[in-house]
Symmetry: C2
């Protein structure tokens, strides 16, 4: 049985409806999962011009309603979107986008959906809808009641878990603790086992140039990162480092490791975004549900133009489906450990 994935439409004034239409027109997507779109059927239908192979769309009156065969069910969770105004910030569109994320999280938490995949929403739109969280990921963490979660990027061989994400670089340095590094390595190891990597090789980057050169340029490698690596090894994880940040991502690209734990947002984002063309996937690890996302924004500047590329969304869906089929999350929770 193919896993049911709840896929949110995001901000309808961005490229969400267009990339959804294009992704759903791709047989890879409908072969790997049963997509349930949480969004507005009229907006998806309106994007058909960009993706003639889009299967028939069906506005599901309720999520429990079984969809007719070969039809894409779209459920608006009781919050239809306003008419499209491509490229325009609209509080009502923001409100709908947030409601859809809430509905998708709810379906995933209940187990109705095996996981969720998100199209981009506009942060300012979230704020106008009355939310104060820093963004999509933080909203989902809030909704799932998770305190310790990790923003990750997956793009081919480039797999990176960040020990912190949207905070200043100053704050990120303060978050470099042995505990956070250890927890990140554990989270990464479990996620990779969920992808079938039996003994994941995890590298931890240093914080300072040349990984500090034994304390010459900063001591975090000596006082917290190194001990964290040792602690993970003692748990039986194939973990090594801290490595000089300016060469470890090259080693990752070349296959020396399965994943790198990055110590701040840009340490991981710079190399992944430089190499990943369109296939980058943003993954939230540490939450009790499977959640993947495109790694780009609403792209208001090209919304409605028909030139948006759906590759990141297709990659996000297939990755979520792969995890869903593996039973990874269920096993992790059965063991009493966080994901």
């Amino acid at each position: 049985m193919k896993p049911l994935l709840a896929i949110t439409m995001g901000d309808v004034n961005g490229i969400g409806p267009e990339i959804l239409a294009k992704a759903l027109a791709n047989p890879i997507v409908t072969q790997c999962c049963r997509p349930l779109i949480i969004g507005d059927a009229a907006h998806l239908e309106a994007a058909r011009g960009f993706a003639p192979a889009l299967p028939e769309v069906w506005a599901a009156p309720a999520v429990a309603e079984p969809a007719p065969a070969h039809v894409i069910p779209v459920w608006d969770a009781g919050v239809p979107a306003p008419p499209a105004k491509p490229g325009t910030l609209d509080a009502a569109a923001g409100r709908a986008a947030v409601a859809w994320v809430e509905a998708a999280v709810d379906l995933a938490m209940k187990g109705t959906a095996a996981g969720m995949v998100t199209c981009p929403l506009n942060k300012e739109g979230i704020h106008r809808a009355g939310y104060t969280c820093a963004g999509h990921t933080d909203l989902i963490a809030q909704l799932t009641g998770t305190l310790e979660y990790r923003m990750s990027l997956f793009a081919g061989a480039m797999r990176v878990v960040h020990i912190s994400s949207h905070c200043s670089l100053r704050e990120a340095i303060e978050l470099v603790t042995a505990e956070r590094v250890v927890e990140s390595v554990r989270i990464a190891a479990r996620a990779l086992r969920g992808l079938g990597v039996a003994l994941p090789r995890i590298a931890v980057a240093g914080l300072n140039p040349h990984a500090g050169e034994s304390g010459a340029f900063g001591d975090e490698e000596v006082t917290s990162i190194g001990p964290a690596v040792e602690a993970c090894r003692a748990e039986g994880i194939d973990c090594s480092g801290p490595y000089p940040p300016d060469t470890v991502f090259r080693q990752l690209r070349d296959g020396a490791f399965d994943l790198v734990v990055a110590l701040y947002h840009d340490q991981g984002h710079i190399p992944v975004k430089l190499i990943a063309m369109d296939e980058g996937v943003n993954v939230t690890l540490g939450i009790p549900i499977i959640r993947t996302s495109v790694d780009h924004g609403t792209a208001y500047d090209i919304a409605g133009a028909g030139v948006a590329r759906e590759h990141s969304l297709v990659a996000a869906i297939t990755l979520a489906a792969q995890w869903a089929k593996s039973g990874w999350l269920q096993r992790s929770f059965a063991k009493g450990s966080a994901v």
Copy 2:
């Protein structure tokens, strides 16, 4: 007239002699400059087996002595190297390497050489030779009496000037000041004009994720980096930013800019080292002489094995020759400005 470049051999127990022999065997090198090797002729001769096309080597008794035609002069500055012990840390080798750097700086400062190019030396070797500086670049800055200098990487389209280099990330954040950013942009603009780029397009990276999102994640973009960019524009430099760090290097690679000013060592080193294969060149800007270097170390692990690649050295020599021919430095100093 081809410019005379003083090329130091570096640590003789590393890959210096081998990459020198291979580079000198490449007609590109001898066509773009008159190389004067500051090192030990016997060690270069010993590397001939790795580079049969190496021209005849001549141990110059003094630097003033004119070299016979089609011969590579090698001057030991009165400090011959100890016998080779590939891959071994040796205080005497370190001492010779430092003496050769001092001699090359002296030749470049006097104008006898139009510029200098360095092969790698071992930092521990410098320390054993009684020096306390952090590395090669700092040694050269000391010898030239320069306080404000910038470590830069040039590799094809990837050109990056760093506002700081070998210090902890914590210290690097403290060095993010409007003054340092402005000076870095000026230094970068002059260096690019020296390469024939009439109106260089210089991008300044942000310090924080997403360049801080208008102060949401750190305020350095608002308080110092943004004002620095404005100040540079007011001086007539085509400067823009601060840009989100995780996309600006991709734009650089794709030709949107001629150079990026990076706000800390790894912000620039991660992307350049990920993309540059062998052609990366380390450039010291802000000093009163032309100095380029290979962007790798002594590679003790492969010293003497014959597998070292000379591409970075060839690129460093051709870049130094290009600058030397342009008269860039002379013009900069004639205008009374630092390089």
